[in-house]
């Protein structure tokens, strides 16, 4: 100890100090980060805790659906659509069927339209409970997520009754539904209408006025209405910014004009508003489901369009004409007329559009999907600029970016 000679303690004066070099940290958020809820990457430039800029890399699960669609007969494209937004695949499936029906001029009976509305609104509920409960998980509340997942399971059981599948539903047929609502399906829907509100109310009690949740989400990732419009926001994210655009109201399809529901809007476009808009939309969806099941019209569940609607199986076995049509449809012998059509539906994340150009063949000449996530996700760097990393995670979570829809 005694041998060590201490060097003179030389403190440099203020003007001798070396000039501060601003050093930014590059942080790779993703592609397989548990907080991104999907495979996409954000390269963030961080100044300490604050995000200076961000750049996204997407396309990790790009499956070239638009190219594949150019080789597929029209009814086979349905299976491509449910792999886009897989949290609410019935909306995609039925949206595609409606596009084709609009294109071919097929009039769908009221009953089928109501069943479709039922399914689409149940899908919206599952989409929103995923988004909202995961937002809870990201703020540290895991319980709510597990609690509402049970309700999603019940909706998936209803899907099973209606189309046989759970996640990639391939629901409905061109011209109507594949089968009528069974008594089990009706019972399950009615049970869901009764059992869902207490669960949703519990989630609300857990989060809506929770001090921690509010502090974490209010004024986090805000976007003004003007910027949101410029960035092509649609759906709950745009409505949270205060623009009341809803395809169901503005361009009603599938008898949405028959139903009474409100379009909730937010004010600040921040994470809390997005959460609240989705939360209220679930109540409105439940309202629509209730109206649809109570006023379900009698009648056929598919259109009288034998050249497009895949005939029921028992008819295929016993009826010559049905067999011929079955064969023609399955082998892709049915040509569509030439023309072009754009049809949009209100998907879980916003305006889901299908732009179809046909040259008169059995497959589209060009099919373009307007995927809402793809268009609004580009605003993400602007929204999280200057916020901390933990806030940026919440912003991303509340935008509900679905990788399948992002990449198509």
């Amino acid at each position: 100890m005694a041998d060590i000679e201490l060097l003179p303690h030389n403190v440099p004066s203020q003007n001798e100090l070396p000039e501060l070099v601003e050093e930014l940290t590059t942080l790779n958020l993703g592609p397989t980060h548990p907080a991104t809820h999907g495979i996409f990457q954000n390269i963030l430039k961080m100044d300490g805790e604050k995000i200076v800029s961000g750049e996204q890399t997407i396309g990790y699960i790009h499956r070239a659906f638009e190219k594949i669609a150019e080789r597929r007969p029209f009814y086979q494209i349905t299976t491509l659509t449910d792999r886009m937004n897989y949290c609410s695949s019935p909306i995609n499936n039925l949206g595609w069927h409606m596009t084709m029906e609009k294109f071919l001029g097929v009039e769908v009976p009221k009953r089928a339209q109501y069943i479709r509305v039922l399914m689409m609104e149940l899908a919206r509920i599952t989409d929103h409970i995923i988004c909202n409960s995961i937002l809870g998980v990201d703020t540290g509340a895991f319980t709510g997520f597990l609690y509402v997942m049970q309700k999603r399971e019940e909706v998936y059981e209803i899907y099973e009754e209606v189309c046989g599948a759970r996640l990639t539903t391939n629901m409905g047929r061109l011209g109507g539904m594949e089968r009528d609502l069974s008594s089990t399906a009706i019972r399950k829907i009615k049970e869901f209408i009764k059992s869902f509100p207490p669960v949703l109310r519990e989630l609300e009690k857990l989060l809506n006025r929770n001090r921690i949740f509010m502090d974490r989400t209010i004024n986090v990732g805000p976007i003004s209405a003007e910027r949101a419009l410029s960035y092509g926001f649609t759906g709950p994210n745009l409505r949270a910014a205060g623009v009341d655009y809803d395809v169901r109201v503005m361009n009603p399809y599938s008898s949405y004009e028959d139903f009474e529901f409100d379009v909730p809007i937010g004010q600040n476009g921040d994470t809390y508003d997005r959460y609240m808009v989705r939360n209220e939309e679930m109540w409105q969806s439940l309202r629509i489901v209730e109206q649809a099941i109570n006023n379900l019209p009698e009648g056929p569940y598919y259109a009288d369009a034998p050249e497009y609607y895949l005939p029921p199986k028992n008819e295929v076995y016993h009826n010559m004409e049905a067999l011929i049509y079955h064969f023609k449809i399955v082998m892709g012998e049915i040509d569509a007329p030439a023309g072009e059509v754009y049809h949009a539906v209100e998907g879980g994340n916003g305006e889901l559009g299908f732009y179809l150009i046909s040259d008169g063949g059995r497959a589209p000449y060009r099919l373009h999907f307007r995927r809402p996530s793809f268009i609004y996700y580009q605003a993400y760097p602007e929204m999280c600029k200057g916020s901390s990393l933990s806030d940026a995670i919440l912003t991303m979570s509340s935008l509900n970016v679905i990788a399948g829809e992002l990449d198509a």
Partner: protein, 166 residues
């Protein structure tokens, strides 16, 4: 509520013979314009108080390989929330001169939509701040949505279109 007829007349009055090929498939006003007029046209539609087409719904490309001199078409879908009408604008460009001005100055959302169109068709958007591939890998040296790249191997004989309807 504006009718398609009124919008078409207004555009004809302002742009004259620079807007042409008016159509109305399934009630959606469709028109074509030239490369030079596309940005002024979109700006006019967006800012004019009678139209207020403030929302750019979609940009995409289409290829017509047999249409010499107009091999590529860029399709813009726009939507007026105020008057609730949609409008589809097409711009045909040739493969030899595959350039079109960018709309990123008017709508922030055009950024990725144009990148996607470039990625798939190789259409060059002049003035775009970051015209790189978006969904495909950077190293790709072709534009996959073009018709010269068929989906399946043409030399295969076990999958005949006439038999399997693919």
């Amino acid at each position: 509520m504006l009718t398609n007829q009124e919008v078409a007349e207004g555009l004809l009055e302002k742009f004259g013979d620079q807007v042409f090929d008016f159509e109305e498939p399934y009630g959606l006003l469709t028109l074509s314009t030239t490369r030079e007029e596309i940005i002024p046209l979109m700006e006019f539609l967006r800012d004019h108080k009678n139209y207020q087409v403030i929302f750019l719904t979609d940009i995409t490309g289409v290829q017509y390989p047999d249409n010499t001199g107009k091999e590529f078409v860029v399709v813009y879908h726009m939507h007026s929330f105020v008057h609730n009408f949609r409008i589809r604008i097409k711009v045909a460009i040739s493969e030899a001169d595959i350039h079109i001005p960018t709309a990123t100055g008017l709508f922030a959302s055009a950024n990725w939509m144009e990148r996607e169109t470039y990625d798939f068709f190789g259409i060059l958007f002049d003035g775009h701040p970051n015209l790189r591939r978006i969904l495909n890998i950077e190293e790709m040296d072709y534009f996959p949505m073009r018709k010269e790249y068929p989906m399946e191997d043409a030399t295969r004989e076990d999958k005949i279109d006439a038999l399997f309807g693919r």
